[in-house]
């Protein structure tokens, strides 16, 4: 009996260990986004698409007839900067709003582009990915969600995600969290 219980406990510990390890797999959101945008602009390399979850991978494949190439994203030109505007932890994993500025001509309406990118913390894969042009005067937030004008990835997933747990985060804490996401070396 004792041996059986010990085995159960060991299995539970192993499961916790796996989850802990998996949580550490969530990659740097800005680097990951830059990589996948680069892939969308060139239609490769294939390894870049391995950051996508099967759902998003299949959606990209269906939207691009299997090429992985988005002409309107390619037209934006190389990325000149990225900035995390918002982030939230969800049960599935973290989600970010990242403003991407391109060096070349921008998307249809011009200017920078706001991307919503969500990760599965157990796999480190992108579960949600969409972008929208920047609306004047309003900073996008995860609470408000993406407008469904142009979407790659989960279909309207923001509305279907559970509400993040309310936090007591102060304006100072939020400002610090976002600044540290943009300049991590200054927060070590």
């Amino acid at each position: 009996m004792r041996s059986r219980l010990a085995n159960i406990l060991l299995a539970a510990l192993a499961a916790i260990s796996v989850v802990t390890t998996a949580e550490a797999q969530v990659p740097d959101p800005q680097e990951t986004l830059e990589t996948i945008i680069g892939a969308f602009q060139k239609g490769g390399p294939p390894v870049a698409y391995q950051t996508l979850s099967p759902l998003v991978f299949n959606l990209v494949a269906s939207q691009t007839s299997g090429s992985g190439y988005y002409p309107q994203i390619a037209a934006a030109g190389p990325i000149s900067s990225t900035e995390i505007l918002d982030s939230k932890a969800f049960p599935l994993g973290p989600m970010y709003v990242i403003r991407v500025t391109h060096a070349g001509s921008a998307f249809a309406s011009g200017g920078p582009v706001d991307w919503f990118i969500g990760f599965n913390q157990a796999t480190g894969k992108i579960e949600y990915l969409t972008f929208q042009t920047v609306a004047a005067g309003s900073a996008p937030t995860i609470e408000k969600g993406a407008t469904a004008s142009q979407t790659i990835g989960g279909i309207d997933p923001v509305k279907k995600l559970p509400k993040p747990a309310p936090t007591d985060e102060t304006p100072q804490e939020k400002a610090l969290r976002l600044a540290c996401a943009n300049f991590p070396v200054m927060c070590k």
Partner: protein
């Protein structure tokens, strides 16, 4: 026992009470610097000279509590950078800015003048968080300009005909260096807000927000990671700016 608030830590604390007039001879801030040849024009356009209270250059910011705390920060900047400029506020109206100039137009005794615009100050005070860090970042930037006058590197940073870009990169680097040293002394010092707030003021010859933030981050590394002494950091700042 009265524990200092976070703002007191950022701005230097209230332990040293100095009336704001004594800010003169300390040094400060900014966003812009004024070449020596343009100083007379600037002074006349701001109706000041030494008539500080009657002109657009003023000893009062409108934020009494801030002024008291700012004094100690300016002392720290003076000590770290080894410069002693005068410091005051000025009404820059619709052009939020701060200025550093080689000539001391206030006390005629030190390493130039730093003027912090009251409009810029009001803008910064409206930030939802870390207004104090943003103000100190501006001050540290202006002290960086003063340092470039004092160590005569300004001629390299902005030779005749060149833009002010490299001089601004030097000042941003030194602002980041100050943040790094302060974070070494006070681990929860919000150094990252120096880069964050500076990035918001990109544009024109100052460089883009990204270029400005990069200079701040590189300076921070020299203060916090490499633990450079100020003279070595200034040399790094010069090398960095000239490489841009």
């Amino acid at each position: 026992m009265i524990l200092p608030s976070r703002r007191d830590v950022v701005l230097g604390g209230l332990l040293t009470f100095l009336p704001v007039d004594l800010c003169r001879g300390q040094g400060a801030s900014g966003g812009c610097w004024i070449p020596e040849q343009d100083t007379d024009d600037f002074i006349s356009s701001h109706n000041s000279g030494l008539d500080i209270l009657g002109g657009k250059i003023t000893a009062k910011s409108g934020f009494d509590h801030l002024e008291v705390a700012l004094n100690q920060t300016l002392s720290k900047l003076s000590a770290m950078f080894g410069v002693l400029p005068s410091f005051s506020f000025y009404d820059e109206a619709s052009d939020p800015n701060a200025k550093a100039m080689k000539r001391d137009i206030i006390a005629n005794q030190s390493d130039g003048t730093v003027l912090l615009g009251t409009t810029l100050l009001q803008d910064l005070m409206k930030l939802p968080a870390f207004a104090d860090a943003a103000i100190v970042a501006v001050c540290a930037h202006e002290y960086g300009h003063i340092l470039s006058y004092a160590n005569n590197t300004i001629a390299q940073l902005r030779p005749k005909g060149a833009t002010v870009y490299r001089a601004e990169q030097f000042a941003d680097f030194m602002s980041g260096y100050y943040a790094g040293v302060r974070k070494t002394d006070v681990p929860d010092f919000p150094a990252v807000m120096f880069a964050d707030s500076t990035k918001r003021y990109g544009g024109g010859e100052h460089g883009t927000g990204e270029q400005r933030a990069e200079a701040v981050v590189e300076g921070f590394k020299r203060g916090y990671i490499a633990k450079d002494k100020p003279v070595a950091a200034a040399q790094r700042a010069l090398d960095f700016a000239l490489s841009r």
